[in-house]
Symmetry: C2
Subunit: 438 residues, 2 copies
């Protein structure tokens, strides 16, 4: 079924027209106190922290939100020079301890540095996961398990899975590894090597628990190829191209990270943990001749995925996609003309590696207008000798990003309507599922 | 709020581009055994029934569905001549009795004619409602009530409301009338004349119950004007035009009432009671090299609107919009470029008046392709040294009609997806409400 779905859509995607060139905005300097950290700011943070500690694993670097009062005051007066402090919150593991470090970028110094000893651990970094997933490949018991199953070790690939919390008094920063066969496929999730429990201590960066419980056959990847270039006939039906046409150009403007469209103004922020953040969304009230605040700050606070299957293979799967993997860290580059229509504009942003180095994330966010049915209509036939018909077309503004955690691609849309409402929605696509939350 | 909403959208609707001329298909002869009745067929039915009975109130005239087996057999072989009988079901009130009449159009004769004596009554006809709503205007007690309220009788307009069933052993075919002031507005529903109970017997066509319970002030229409031409500044924000562009032309074909698009084939029927009917929807199965049936017949069977307010003014409001008013009879002409985007094609159809005369309903249905986000995507970052990203754009086919009952405009969309699913949805717009059912 999945294979069929994919094939049907091939030509639709291929023939989508590009009427407008891809417009990309790389912010260099912050212009708004809620702008995400720039490349230079990430580098400065890295330098300041490494000056104090020689060995640091950066698990989170992000803007420390200024006080709401200060932001609202700034927004009212928009002084040419921003005097609001620019502070950065850092969560780092240093000598096995979780540090919460606050940095003032104007002062170029650490304002506070405390060691966190409560429950919970920092978000996983991509870098530590990259190291962890290599451990089984050199771990003799795992190599033996692979051989016992008659599998080719060079085709084995592992992946990090957070483990949840089941009431332990004291827990350590561990993750489970599940492994897959990439032989014959890039759709690795359909070829799990089951029956093995591997637990890695991410602090020690070693396997601390290992059980080969039972040998089960690895499923084949037959009929699960999803790559366009690997498809062979029969292809699905050819769909004609469809693109949006805006002869007056786009109806929205992006200035740095500030967007204005129709009666709306808002700011698009980005955070390693939260992903896209919509701030200071306001509509212009025609009758009162002033803006009306609708949303101060909005983001997907968490995506909790409890599998609720009590078996050894699944019981621990209680993922917090934002808190454990980072919605920002897991945001992927959007594919122009496919993930977003040809009339979209894109915004780049920066995330960071575990050593604090800024990483450019091209096309992290796209903004576009979309036709969406009828906003309001009425045909009045109840008044003798009068015929009234009225209809207003609905065109909305969408702010889109895609957050991919493992085999789940979460499409996060913030839809702005000229009628005054905001509709956030996430759609989850995977090889197995198609879920919508509106 | 409503007023503001409407103003905001004015320019959006005005500036919608027309890239393609409006294409309209008026079916003259039926080509498919499920085609709705043609103008000629309605006239033939009228002639046949009036030949037997001189005075007939036609409350329903519609295709009597051929047997499913016969349809499926016809669909498999598609003979050049349709040999399936063409029968028409008529519900008419003749001498105060409800007749169920079955007509064979090929034989040009009545096959059966039975008098129905069970519970329930035929759908209201537009014509009898038109007569009923005039009754209060010549009814002295009502005229006195209007004068007592200091209202201008020439600005009073009434409307028919079905009354529900509350366990009565024997009920007659009655309706309540609620009246409104059209003075200063066409948005009559905001100016109800409350405190009066009027019951009309539709058979006798006279007022059989009347109470002036209490005098209440009629609300003003201030800030509820919805007509575009009556708006004055300040206008809402100017939105840029947005239209779909299909350089290869539409990706769907309409042949009579049969539609083919992508992997789908289906038939669009129309019925005075049911409105749009989707039949014989099938997708082509690439692997089995044959069509797979998905839906034999689909339509909105009922829209039940129980107000659930026990007061005298509202308790009886338990509307069956399809059964009591007719979803087909209440279907309104779509406004090109507003109710449907510029890339839509339209289908006309026929309904009938109470004397059996066919009435052309222009642009009753529209069909168009619409961009709808991402069908499926995946970015795979879990395989070392490989980067995979795939995304398929979703373009769907929409079959739209609008059914207006009183102040409620129900947008009925049948959305076909190339992935193999059909998503029917109704959205209800009124001066007070905005409701979606998906």
């Amino acid at each position: 079924m999945v294979s069929t779905t994919i094939k049907f859509a091939l030509f639709s995607a291929l023939t989508l027209l590009s009427l407008q060139a891809v417009v990309s905005v790389t912010p260099l300097h912050f212009q708004h106190p809620l702008d995400p950290l720039t490349k230079e700011e990430y580098s400065l943070v890295q330098k300041i922290v490494l000056h104090k500690y020689p060995k640091v694993a950066f698990h989170y670097i992000g803007l420390d939100d200024p006080e709401k009062d200060a932001i609202l005051k700034w927004e009212s007066f928009k002084p040419s020079v921003i005097t609001i402090p620019r502070k950065v919150s850092v969560i780092a593991i240093i000598n096995g301890q979780s540090h919460e470090i606050l940095i003032d970028l104007r002062l170029k110094s650490i304002v506070s540095d405390t060691i966190y000893t409560g429950n919970g651990f920092p978000t996983l970094s991509v870098d530590e996961q990259t190291i962890a997933i290599e451990l089984p490949l050199k771990y003799p018991p795992f190599i033996a398990s692979v051989q016992k199953r008659g599998l080719n070790l060079s085709e084995v690939i592992c992946s990090t899975f957070t483990m949840g919390w089941f009431g332990e008094e004291k827990s350590t920063r561990t993750a489970r590894l599940d492994c897959f066969m990439k032989e014959t496929t890039v759709n690795i999730y359909v070829r799990p090597i089951t029956g093995i429990t591997i637990v890695v201590d991410l602090g020690l960066m070693k396997i601390v628990e290992y059980h080969d419980r039972n040998v089960e056959e690895v499923p084949t990847a037959e009929n699960t190829e999803y790559q366009l270039s690997k498809q062979s006939p029969p292809f699905g039906p050819k769909q004609h191209s469809l693109a949006s046409h805006q002869p007056q150009g786009p109806g929205f403007q992006i200035n740095g990270h500030s967007v204005s469209w129709a009666n709306w103004k808002f700011h698009i922020g980005f955070d390693a943990r939260a992903g896209v953040i919509i701030s200071l969304a306001s509509i212009y009230d025609l009758e009162k001749h002033k803006s009306r605040r609708v949303l101060y700050k909005g983001y997907i606070s968490e995506l909790f995925v409890p599998y609720q299957d009590p078996t050894e293979e699944f019981y621990f799967k209680t993922f917090f996609d934002a808190g454990e993997y980072g919605f920002g860290l897991s945001t992927v580059s959007l594919i122009p003309n496919r993930d977003c229509p040809p009339n979209a504009q894109f915004i780049d942003t920066y995330i960071h590696s575990a050593d604090g180095t800024p990483i450019l994330l091209k096309n992290a966010i796209c903004v576009f207008e979309q036709y969406n049915s009828i906003m309001w209509r009425h045909t009045e036939t109840g008044i003798p000798n009068e015929f009234i018909e009225e209809s207003r077309t609905e065109v909305n503004l969408i702010v889109r990003s895609v957050v991919t955690v493992g085999n789940y691609d979460n499409i996060v849309d913030w839809e702005f309507k000229a009628s005054g409402s905001i509709k956030p929605a996430t759609k989850t696509k995977s090889s197995q599922l198609d879920i919508s939350f509106v």
